[in-house]
């Protein structure tokens, strides 16, 4: 009996130790993840003078100031970058939805000759890395004289084979009887698509929209290639521009204010939709 007590006690202490270690390690990684966010917020509230006088950076500030945010929106055209990114994101996402909804509908509900071949060809395009096609796209857009225009920014990113595939799979789960019933009632394909299929598949559509918005908000490479006029910069290019020649002498607190301003919209979006976003990403988001 004594042995039993000893063993069970040992097992309990083991479990407690394991739990403590687990929580400590998880908290540690949590701190590593959160710390850069803390640091940028903290720095953005330090005044230029006090930041530069701290040879050893302080972990807190006694005199927070909004001045940096004021500078970020007045001394550089951060507002313009925001507006550009907003336009870019909305138009790209809307156009892409238009393109992929029709394609997914054709693949899932319509019978036509060559359907399988075309679909296989579409799928094989998923393997093509962006880096391979971006060279010609750059030349194409340049030759068309579309550099430094929204058209040039938007056009190459309005299709996604992967999202067509995702939506098509979802459309196919809707029973065919529904389609036939609608046909008997004389409903047109378009009406059926917009009044029945899209509402049923709303979760997938929302997932796709969220993923695309994240992608647009963070896109850097293509905008960098295609714009060199600051009037068309998106936030990513804007931050790079600010870093390299904004704010005169290195005004790091103001830079951090710009960084916070750029990060906030997506973080707010994430905090509201975190379940949806995480479910969506695990279904099919790889970054980049």
């Amino acid at each position: 009996m004594q042995d039993y007590d000893k063993i069970s006690k040992q097992a309990r202490t083991g479990a407690v130790i394991r739990k403590t270690v687990t929580y400590t390690l998880l908290t540690l990684w949590g701190l590593i993840v959160l710390f850069p966010f803390y640091w940028m917020i903290l720095t953005s509230f330090k005044s230029y003078g006090s930041y530069n006088s701290e040879y050893v950076p302080k972990m807190y500030t006694t005199s927070p100031t909004w001045q940096n945010y004021n500078d970020a929106f007045t001394q550089v055209t951060l507002g313009k970058y925001f507006a550009n990114t907003l336009v870019f994101t909305i138009v790209t996402t809307a156009l892409m939805l238009f393109v992929i909804v029709f394609a997914a509908f054709a693949f899932s509900r319509l019978e036509f000759r060559g359907k399988n071949i075309v679909f296989t060809l579409f799928l094989s395009l998923m393997m093509i890395p962006n880096e391979l096609v971006i060279i010609t796209n750059f030349v194409t857009i340049t030759d068309l004289g579309l550099r430094n225009t929204f058209t040039g920014l938007i056009l190459p990113s309005v299709t996604s084979v992967f999202y067509i595939y995702l939506l098509k799979e979802n459309f196919e789960q809707i029973p065919n009887e529904l389609y036939k019933a609608a046909k008997v009632d004389g409903t047109s394909d378009l009406k059926y698509l917009f009044k029945v299929m899209i509402p049923i598949c709303q979760p997938t559509v929302v997932t796709i929209i969220i993923l695309k918005v994240i992608e647009c908000w963070n896109s850097y490479v293509w905008p960098r290639l295609i714009t060199d006029d600051a009037n068309y910069f998106l936030v990513s290019n804007g931050i790079q521009e600010i870093r390299e020649n904004g704010f005169g002498r290195e005004n790091i607190p103001a830079m951090m204010a710009a960084v916070v301003a750029i990060s906030v919209p997506l973080i707010v979006l994430f905090l509201i939709f975190h379940k949806k976003i995480m479910a969506g990403v695990s279904r099919g988001g790889t970054k980049g």
């Binding site: 993840v33 393109v99 029709f102 394609a103």
Partner: protein, 295 residues
């Protein structure tokens, strides 16, 4: 039937048009570019075809440096991030309280702008005349001298680069592994418990085999992603990666295409195709290895 045919193609038209212009045509074009010697983008002429572009790229010290950097980043970050993600996911899966809070926090880097947060990392690591920076302050606590992580020795820069890369790629891996672990049937664990199986054995004999497809998936996508590293490098070291000695293959492609050293789509194409060949080979090897595993 015939009208249906027409209608279907009409629905597909926008997708086919965009994919044709921006994916299929470029794919053929990039092959042509890569074998056109001495292509001039102004006059759009070339004086021959051959493999000179490849030879030029393969002898370019900047490209060799880019290859070296990329391989180091891949070799360090892929195993490290996958292992770390596995460890964190196991931890997450063994707790109940605060699990969702931790999951949400860990996912945060995924939704942030790489360029913006990279700037924060740069500032935390940077040593300037005015300040040694935050990380050096922490190092000083351990009695280590200040290191210039941004403009200093190669391995200091590489450390920052790998650290930031891991920080950026972990959220996705943790997410995938946590859901994989959660989907392992409880019955196996209960059976093992009754048999009094030691924890390590449960892990190697039940958990690992059950989630191995997902681990392979992460390794494969991890390799592909790490070989294409670029934005994270720009975020830390700025656009002139060659000057920092931290360029990557993708960075080399873009430098050849555009910017101060740009205007050479042929060299860029050759470099991009070399990258594609490397990634393709590695992916095939990965797939072969994962096939051999008994599931």
């Amino acid at each position: 039937m015939k009208s249906n045919n027409l209608k279907a193609w009409l629905y597909l038209l926008p997708a086919i048009l965009f994919l044709g212009v921006f994916m299929v045509y470029p794919l053929i074009d990039v092959l042509i570019y890569s074998v056109e010697e001495g292509y001039n983008s102004a006059s759009q002429t070339s004086y021959g075809t051959g493999l000179y572009n490849y030879s030029y790229v393969l002898h370019d010290p900047y490209f060799l440096q880019a290859i070296k950097n990329t391989f180091i980043i891949v070799i360090i970050t892929v195993p490290l991030s996958t292992g770390l993600a596995l460890l964190i996911s196991l931890g997450l899966n063994s707790i109940k309280k605060l699990k969702e809070l931790f999951q949400t926090i860990f996912f945060l880097p995924y939704v942030t702008n790489t360029l913006a947060v990279g700037l924060v990392f740069m500032i935390m690591f940077k040593k300037t005349p005015y300040t040694d920076g935050l990380i050096n302050m922490i190092l000083a606590l351990f009695g280590k001298g200040p290191v210039d992580f941004i403009d200093g020795p190669y391995w200091a820069k590489m450390f920052v680069m790998c650290f930031y890369t891991v920080w950026v790629v972990l959220p996705f891996k943790i997410l995938i592994l946590t859901s994989a672990l959660a989907s392992v049937d409880e019955v196996y664990y209960k059976a093992a418990k009754i048999d009094g199986t030691p924890r390590l054995r449960i892990f190697t004999r039940i958990t690992l085999p059950m989630i191995s497809p997902m681990i392979f998936y992460l390794v494969i996508t991890g390799f592909i992603g790490a070989f294409k590293a670029y934005s994270d490098e720009v975020a830390i070291f700025g656009t002139n990666l060659n000057a920092a000695g931290m360029n990557t293959i993708v960075g080399y492609v873009y430098d050849m295409l555009y910017g101060d050293s740009g205007g050479y789509p042929s060299y860029a194409s050759a470099a991009a195709l070399i990258l594609f060949a490397i990634v393709f080979t590695i992916t095939c090897i990965n797939l072969l290895i994962s096939r051999k595993q008994p599931v």
